[in-house]
Symmetry: C2
Subunit: 457 residues, 2 copies
């Protein structure tokens, strides 16, 4: 009998607790799917503001507008955090063609990579040499590369299930291709777009010159996958064909911009901070709907859903819309710098920056015991088909907040379609499904709710 009573005493509170969590999480999902705001916000951000490259008018409009929207939510604090950001501009549209013989040209679709210098104003024409990666440059040697345009054409590996892994296996061509090729005397670089589909869209993205002196820097552009295949096929027929491209990009001086921050101050542990965020800047070609308008509006929605679901956080919950993830990470670094200066105890941070697709779960960057604590909540997510809880990365913007004790996390949406839109002109609102976006927001809110309630042990 004693055992029986003891069991009851142990089981009942657990049962009550767990029933409550189930109910709260169910309310969060229902509110997101039936009274959600994330989709309307994303509509405005994508269609009324549009692209938001750091330092652009769009970025500044987005800062002002998201601050206004957060203020409407009745949070405890909303503020802008100043941060200096790089300003790179594309200039007038790029132009490129393949020339089989003088006067015989085929126009191809390219875009300057973010951070690249311009070509000479008359453009650049040269023979082109195809490689499947920076590793191949050494093998070819300076003789075969000097005065040529290097064409990096290693495609993303379609056999990998996680498309971010495919991206990871290719992106060094884009990021450091120009830097490496210039060391062998190349005069320009063309990179196959980081896209698993064969289509007409060039995908931009960041690149670096490292510590190469300005005089040795060479222009670098992405070419659409369809035209990469075309170019490669033509090179096989005739290695003497020429490639012409002209781009008009320019790096200007840094300008002032802002992270946008909103806070619900904790009722019991106001000095423990939980951050949820995405990056407000985007590349300039599309409207940054998936990357990362989705993550921003989902993060804003987390605080709104907490309030709408009647949850009064014990800890301080902040939404942070980071500026300049794409070409500098200045916002993420600044936020962490200020947090350190103020000695703020950030126990948890969650980033959504992998598109507004059906959520599958989370990656975590934490120690084993914190991970096990989180795994104990996994069954609460099962009704929502959230099944993926793995150690791994988190998010670029929140990365600088990592310390020995806290937990960072990244939302993991379904990744199959992400690189169809990533950094490309078609990253627009119509590519986002309302329910998929809303399920992501609800999933994030549910995790934030549990972290706030139980803390990081």
């Amino acid at each position: 009998m004693k055992n029986y009573i003891l069991t009851i005493l142990i089981i009942i509170p657990f049962f009550v607790l767990s029933q409550t969590d189930e109910k709260v999480i169910s309310d969060i999902y229902t509110n997101s799917l039936t009274k959600g705001q994330s989709y309307n916000w994303l509509d405005y951000l994508s269609n009324n503001i549009g692209s938001r490259l750091s330092g652009s008018l769009g970025a500044e409009k987005a800062v002002a507008w998201t601050k206004e929207e957060l203020e409407k939510l009745g949070l405890d604090k909303v503020w802008l955090q100043p941060v200096m950001v790089p300003k790179w501009v594309r200039g007038i549209p790029e132009f490129a063609y393949i020339e089989t013989k003088p006067g015989n040209t085929i126009k191809v679709n390219i875009c300057a990579l973010g951070g690249s210098i311009s070509t000479p104003s008359t453009g650049l024409k040269a023979k082109i040499v195809e490689v499947s990666g920076v590793e191949e440059l050494e093998k070819l040697g300076r003789d075969k590369i000097k005065d040529k345009i290097v064409f990096f054409n290693r495609p993303m590996d379609a056999s990998l299930i996680n498309t971010f892994e495919s991206y990871g296996g290719c992106v060094n061509q884009r990021y450091s291709g120009a830097m490496e090729a210039s060391k062998f005397g190349a005069i320009g670089v063309i990179v196959r777009s980081m896209n698993l589909r064969i289509d007409d869209l060039p995908h931009t993205g960041s690149m670096t010159y490292g510590d190469i002196s300005p005089i040795d820097r060479i222009p670098s552009a992405a070419i659409s996958t369809k035209h990469a295949d075309l170019l490669s096929g033509m090179l096989k027929l005739d290695s003497n064909i020429q490639f012409y491209f002209k781009q008009n990009s320019k790096q200007l001086d840094d300008v002032l911009s802002h992270n946008v921050i909103g806070e619900i101050t904790g009722s019991e542990y106001p000095d423990e901070y939980i951050v949820v965020g995405g990056h407000l800047d985007s590349w300039d070609l599309g409207d940054g709907a998936h990357d990362d308008g989705a993550g921003c509006t989902q993060s804003m929605e987390v605080l709104r859903l907490l309030k709408l679901s009647g949850i009064k956080p014990k800890r301080s919950i902040r939404v942070v819309l980071f500026m300049n993830e794409e070409n500098g990470l200045r916002g993420g670094n600044k936020y962490a710098e200020i947090a350190a200066q103020k000695n703020e105890n950030h126990i948890f941070a969650l980033e959504s920056d992998a598109g507004g697709f059906t959520p599958r779960g989370f990656y975590f960057d934490c120690n084993q015991s914190n991970f096990e604590q989180i795994l104990s909540w996994k069954s609460l997510f099962k009704p929502y088909l959230i099944h993926f809880f793995e150690l791994g990365g988190s998010g670029a913007d929140i990365g600088p907040l990592k310390n020995e004790t806290n937990v960072l996390s990244g939302l993991k949406p379904d990744s199959q379609r992400y690189f169809d839109y990533h950094h490309a002109p078609n990253d627009t609102f119509d590519a986002v499904n309302k329910r998929e976006l809303e399920l992501g927001a609800a999933t994030m809110t549910s995790l934030i709710y549990l972290i706030d309630k139980y803390g990081i042990l």
Copy 2:
């Protein structure tokens, strides 16, 4: 020491076996994602053949073309199974408007429901009464319904995670709305489209008159969700507004069509049959890309991937492309009837008929011990993010094959976007993502491989 050896003896074969299965399944996925044919097939089926309503020219073209394609695969047998199917035709496009007063009209988008009779050739105009379901008819009573058009407007429940459940909670309005409303003297029925989005597209689908005599039958059409909201809003302002619609549909005599069947004959147990299939017919408004071109081309791909991956099945594997799932299920019934006549032992059947979206897992219709056998394979699917293994339904076409001992299964893709396209003009090839389709085909092939290898215990 004895125990040690025993352990080795038990563990090693298991390990080897399981390593082999991992490798085979990995090859299946890689082949589907890098050498797949499902997407090209779907392109042809959607864009060169198009819609395939039973009895239509499209359906007959699809029968001939899929038979040809299966013949190219070098299967052991390919044949057509004759089946008589209903033939319903839409006729010239529908036309409808809301009339606030004579001469003051707003055009709205409707489509006749499959199986509905035509309106009179001059159309039908009457007052309209909105209900939220067939249950409400009784409450309103004959007086308020007689000589009116009944407007069924219960929306799909957005709070449910599985959109098929939302559909299940609404579809009786479409299926039996006209039959029920006619009993109360209604002269026509308009049904809110089964769509979770607010957009301009009417979604068709099957309806029935049950045993109502031809003279009492009334025409029934679907209205787009946007216009359903408009109509509902206008009715709240003025319940006297009139609704006009004209449709030109007609049920013709049954015609001969075919199921398309291909078989790899089993090397050890040729008399044990495993079926994988989808339905080749579609509604007439779009191209039937998701419903169910995707399921058909994935099913064809299963047999192709088995061969490509060097798997020689022990049991006979059949792909069956069923005719007439949408408005009759004649193909599914015919296949089961012939299988019973021939005393064929169908141990397993798998259907894909929930769209070509990222696969999440399977539903199973089987006893507990078979289910546990299948669950023991679950970890093999984890690298592919296939996590959903639940008892539940299977597929309409394979349902008639169920007996006490066999196992039926339905592929469960992500359901969030399905009803954006279901039975609507936008169910076209561009709505299907290549990788999502290919992952589905690989997932199906992997399960078929395991069922074939280990049998149903």
